[in-house]
Amino acid sequence: MENLLKNKSDEELLKAVASKDESAFEILVEKYKYSVLNIIYRYTTNRTEAEDISQDIFVKIWHSADSFKYKSKVSTWIYRVVVNYCLNFKDKNKINNTIQSLDELSEKGEIITDSSKEYKSYENNETDRIVRDSVNKLPERYKIVLILSRFDNKSYQEISEIMNLSIPAVESLIFRAKANLKKVLLPYFNKRTDI
């Protein structure tokens, strides 16, 4: 049964999900969970919250599958749910925008402060923290288009469909996001040292 479902298109799977077919839902989740989780993770910069929110998004998909009108691709609809969730999510207690402090990283053993190799690790962690912090401070729309383009390899065309924008608008948003980051991160361009 599952093998049969695996060969089905997203549209066929979603139709099955709309009639509460759990196996079809599982296949759809398996297909998109990695991508959805990583978009949310890059948005929230917190793994636990990213897992929690990703699951909430799939719960929403399970409940609203029957309302999908099939006017766009299923993948576009799923990413639109993700983007809307990110953009409309006002509860700041759930999305923790603060980046882990160095003390927290140290407590978790992610920072080691002895020897030159460990110093490099510290330096890299510090640079990563600053980069994540800078991305986090971007206006929401800049941040989400940058995440979709840079990390999820979505084309400008796909982003324009997901966000209901024109392609030039997407191009402009991505450029502005990069320009903002470039200004802040220029001093760190040559700092990151690979171990």
Binding site: V29, S54, R132, R150, E171, K178
Partner: protein, 161 residues
């Protein structure tokens, strides 16, 4: 950046692989002779590397689907509970106006009944009183020497006997 330089938005799109073949060729040939645009491209490339290194992807937990199914189950149980609570709340809310309306109707009907009973009692007494007063006044109104008065007197005398 020179006046004839490529729009920086296009340089960004060029690095993202979003331009047509023709546009790419134009930019490539421009880059050969423009140090400013080369610098812009170099900085954007370094930014991409920095972003890629700082946001390494994560793997979903092995319990992702199990936890998700649990959430759906909890959600459904919760929505049933919410529906029941909503239903109870609606009943509670509608009980007040229903009760008030029933009380008003009851008061109206009961008031009407009581009113009718009291009216019937009082009207019977009233009618008798009116009848008696009318009867006597009619008899008393005839002149003393009239045949009717004499007849009435005879009747009353017979009655007294």
């Amino acid at each position: 950046m020179k006046k004839e330089c490529t729009n920086p938005e296009k340089l960004s799109a060029f690095l993202d692989g979003e331009l047509s073949e023709q546009e790419r060729e134009n930019i490539k040939s421009h880059l050969k002779n423009c140090l400013l645009c080369q610098k812009e491209v170099s900085e954007l490339t370094k930014l991409s590397e920095l972003l890629n290194n700082s946001f390494l992807p994560i793997e979903p937990s092995p319990y992702f689907i199990t936890e998700l199914k649990q959430k759906i189950e909890d959600n459904e149980t919760m929505s049933v509970e919410i529906r029941i609570n909503d239903w109870i709340a609606r009943i509670k809310h509608s009980l007040i106006p229903i009760g008030a309306t029933a009380l008003i109707l009851f008061s109206f009907v009961a008031g009407n009944r009581i009113g009718n009973i009291l009216y019937q009692k009082s009207s019977t007494v009233g009618e008798r009183e009116i009848y008696t007063s009318v009867e006597s006044s009619i008899l008393n109104d005839f002149p003393e020497s009239s045949l009717t008065n004499t007849y009435a007197n005879l009747l009353s005398e017979e009655g007294e006997r």
